[in-house]
Point group: C2
Amino acid sequence: MLKKRKKLGRGVAVIGAGMSKFGMFRDKDSKDLFAEAFNETIASVDKGVDPNEIEALYLGNFSNDFFVRQAHWGAMISDLIGLAPKPATRTEGACASSALAFREGVFAIASGFYDMVLVGGVEEMSKSSSTEVAEGLALATVPYEGKVGFTFPGVFGVIATAYFAKYGASHRDLMNITIKSHKNAPFNPKSQIPFTVLELMHAKIESLKKKGRPVPEWKNEIDFLSDPGANPSIAWPMHLYDCCPISDGASCMLLVAEDLAKNFTDKPLSVAGIGQGSGRGFHAAPSLTSFEATKNAAEEAYNMSGFKPEDIQFSEVHDCFSIAEIIHTEDLGFFKPGEGFKVAEEGLTALNGPMPINTSGGLKSKGHPVGATGTSQLFEVWKQLRNEAGERQVKKNNLRIGAAHNLGGTGGTCTFTILERK
Amino acid sequence: MLKKRKKLGRGVAVIGAGMSKFGMFRDKDSKDLFAEAFNETIASVDKGVDPNEIEALYLGNFSNDFFVRQAHWGAMISDLIGLAPKPATRTEGACASSALAFREGVFAIASGFYDMVLVGGVEEMSKSSSTEVAEGLALATVPYEGKVGFTFPGVFGVIATAYFAKYGASHRDLMNITIKSHKNAPFNPKSQIPFTVLELMHAKIESLKKKGRPVPEWKNEIDFLSDPGANPSIAWPMHLYDCCPISDGASCMLLVAEDLAKNFTDKPLSVAGIGQGSGRGFHAAPSLTSFEATKNAAEEAYNMSGFKPEDIQFSEVHDCFSIAEIIHTEDLGFFKPGEGFKVAEEGLTALNGPMPINTSGGLKSKGHPVGATGTSQLFEVWKQLRNEAGERQVKKNNLRIGAAHNLGGTGGTCTFTILERK
């Protein structure tokens, strides 16, 4: 019965995108942050748009229920942006929540029911202590993990250990991922940590000097990251610099039916592929060094788009932990299994490399307000494909195909979304 | 730019439905309950179905995050039913969460991307104390309500007061809603409270006699419900029998592209109308005696289907509190504003009346596991339109159009769904 090729009955285009600055904001709540992202989205529409034409909202949020004791964020944000009484739906798939919102917005337009839909996400985490954040995130693990005491760094520590054992990688390979992503961070004005690892090392040296404390002889980033005084262990073999920060933020995108896009911009992006998958957690996963949900997501997106991994010119890849980027770039077909750990050191995934990964700086330096991450990754693809990424712009001839991979939980929900400039 | 008539590019049909028994189950968790609903759904497909053909899951859940400290239910249930690695998405719109799942399932098929999608919902509330449940549900109110101390009974008490003042209704009119809905309850094998109010009165008399306590002279249900000893005040003018119980449960439905439905059954139901709206809470609502979200949902569903209120032959209507049924039947156009409080006493909404409302017994007697309610209401429509509702079957000639209205929060999210037997 199943179709060989998954297609949408009606094309969908992105005509606007925006995101708040990511960071830890004591003085901003989820509504403030979403307003920032929304205002930027409306302003980004080249030929202008009347927000009253928006017909529905899809909003990703993981668990503001837990973090700030407020659920029902579809209705909350619908009120904020003046959408009510039109429909607003919250989607949740842990850290992939807003990639799901994007996908539902695409379906709602492709179905023929709506012409213009706002999609986005928000999360407000920094008002919780780091212990509370760990507890909150553990709600997204399957019960065989979280309820026996696994936190997220713990889970990814086990995954890293399994990967190291299978392929002979080491902690130094993780460091290269971090160094590569942080090199893009200073060029991203939305970044939570807009510094290279070298800059962070020099800042640490200055701070030690000021305090009159002894300064270790760090010659380069690897020296710095190898020093447990600077980069303490979190969950072996994961260290502090292998983990993304705790963040607040929001992001959104405006979608319209493709046949209407030219009314709003001469440079719309086409939704070429939308893939999603689910995974079963450790207790039943076929492998610890591969995510079945990512593989299903990639298969769906490549199938719909007709593209192959080698057609993707750059990609955001979910790097909640450095090991995650390595494994996902393999699962997405960008590199062969067991090869992903070598590519950062070789420069293949650098901004000027043949396959730039996480030009935004990645979750590690840009920040990871979990419900906002999915559409913030697509915001980066939007910026790059429109040649608006400033100093972090990918400089390739005929740049037209970019993608974003978003992971929820410990692999429970993954998405892969391909955008195309036609 | 906007279309005058909202239509789906591809029709969608319901080919199976199931639900768990609703109640308070110390020995069953959300997975046990969903398994019940899922197994019944698969078994309900007339010509049989291979569950491996299901391509995606949409699952409504309000806040198991809060109730049982577990989020990410899309992935949880995907694992349970053997769907992984295919996609699973959780939708949340407070007590309308699974009606949103149904709607997204419809869009996913109508878009052309999938042919067969499972939709449903689950909630596990009874392991929380009633104080915790009140606190959990308050997460769904807008902050101007919940955070200043309003609970759900409090909000609906205010709404009832405003309605009484505007139209001259009284608590006796609320009692008539309760009496009417409970009359259908004994005929619903899934019901949490499968008794009429008269049966509950007799049970109370027996219990008082056994304890050697004085028995009041209750001549009928109205006497019984007017006695604060039997029906204590909860949030004036709302009494205990105006409020639905705390429940656990799950429900689901199997959707396919309409052109494929005949492979699975000769009696598919067509999705004729799917409407949804959002509301702004008390601080900005245009009225306390009408729900703007319900009105938007009704408008969308009538628009899509081409039906008018008088075409709907019976409906489930969200009666978390008795006053809610009254107001919503007006907002949906079944009765004129200010008339809805009179119709139960006149028998118009009884099982054998001209416009049966809540033939399932309604949330009041069937139970209200919030995330499962939306698709459980549609389960009732399914049963009725297939002439499988047993002793609660609506006996009308040519019964072919039924609907379900689902409310989330204090009006933040509402849906109205119309199913048709062709």
